[in-house]
Subunit: 173 residues, 2 copies
DNA sequence: CTTATTCTAGAAATAATGTTCTAATATGGG
DNA sequence: CCCATATTAGAACATTATTTCTAGAATAAG
């Protein structure tokens, strides 16, 4: 576990990974670089799954994506820990290396574009989509992480919430 | 704003409050003491409202409490910032002064007891109650904070989610 | 095998942050 | 008004964290 108590010290990274300080600086350039890389890799892993789910329309549009969050937490607990239990602002800030900031912008743009396309396709207001796809699922899994596994049964509850908020707004409903 | 980027430096507290280092240490004893006090005061302010709501049974039991979170964010944005955007572990840890740890335990016990009583009264499973009362409302407001106000319209969505998850489990439903 | 290159190690230097301390200032009771 | 107590101020100090640096080990190409 790289992240604990919200503070990442280079020293603790050294201890918990067995990698020396010199190697860390050789590879990441700085603490900022290391944190940004951790955040970006995590985000990329999640977004890959999220976007894949967006392309498979099921009975209820978007439901698969909403359920991708708890599944990600179960499938990749280490990455999910960073995604769910860290704020972006903790890992990336104004003095994050320029190149990495650009990388983040690119990833974010990709996801926003996908969500906006989803909204156009379904007629959902953006705020409702964000709530159902991100807000509720994230709030649900945070009740368990870190410390406990995200139970399978949670998915059913997330689905209920998603349907309740999204279905009344679907044009085709 | 006392909290920025998840790190609270004594120096930044001095700058943003105009209070000198000496005074801070006179009053709070240590950085740990200051952080814990901020967390506890915030928690107390929220819990006072939350528990008050728990005692007024409405048409849908618990709904008023669920909506207390977005309302708190609008009514007391500074405190809400700490409650919503900080992890407890950032502000309280093992080396928090003993007395303050005890205070936290007392507050937590009070809330847990109230929620458990609520569950006994309504027949709701604890996990469902936590999801509807805490998980979903918190996930919803976090989409906006920090940076934007929590819109009034969000309450309706939280209510939909609450009903969807809670009503099917209510014995009297 | 040899050399060039990349990577690793960890001590030492640098920088940032938390805490203490003493003097000065306010505050309130007699 | 005077003293006692509580509070404030901020420079000095101590601690903790990040970064640099040099020497050595691994790796790969010729």
């Amino acid at each position: 576990m790289l992240v604990r108590d919200g503070e990442v010290r280079m020293q603790s990274v050294v201890e918990q990974t067995g990698v020396s300080v010199g190697s860390l600086y050789h590879r990441f350039g700085s603490r900022e670089g290391l944190l940004a890389r951790a955040w970006l890799d995590t985000l990329a892993a999640f977004h890959a799954r999220f976007l894949a789910a967006l392309d498979q329309p099921g009975e209820v549009p978007g439901l698969a994506e909403a359920l991708e969050t708890p599944r990600f937490c179960r499938d990749e607990p280490d990455k999910a820990l960073i995604l769910v239990c860290c704020r972006r602002s903790e890992l990336m800030s104004d003095d994050t290396p320029e190149a990495l900031q650009a990388e983040l912008a690119a990833v974010n743009d990709g996801v926003m574009a996908a969500i906006e396309a989803f909204c156009r396709r379904t007629g959902l207001p953006l705020e409702i989509a964000r709530l159902g796809l991100i807000g509720f699922p994230l709030g649900a899994v945070k009740l368990y992480m870190p410390g406990a596994p995200v139970p399978e049964a949670l998915d059913e509850e997330i689905e209920r919430a998603y349907r309740a908020v999204v279905l009344p707004r679907l044009v085709s409903s």
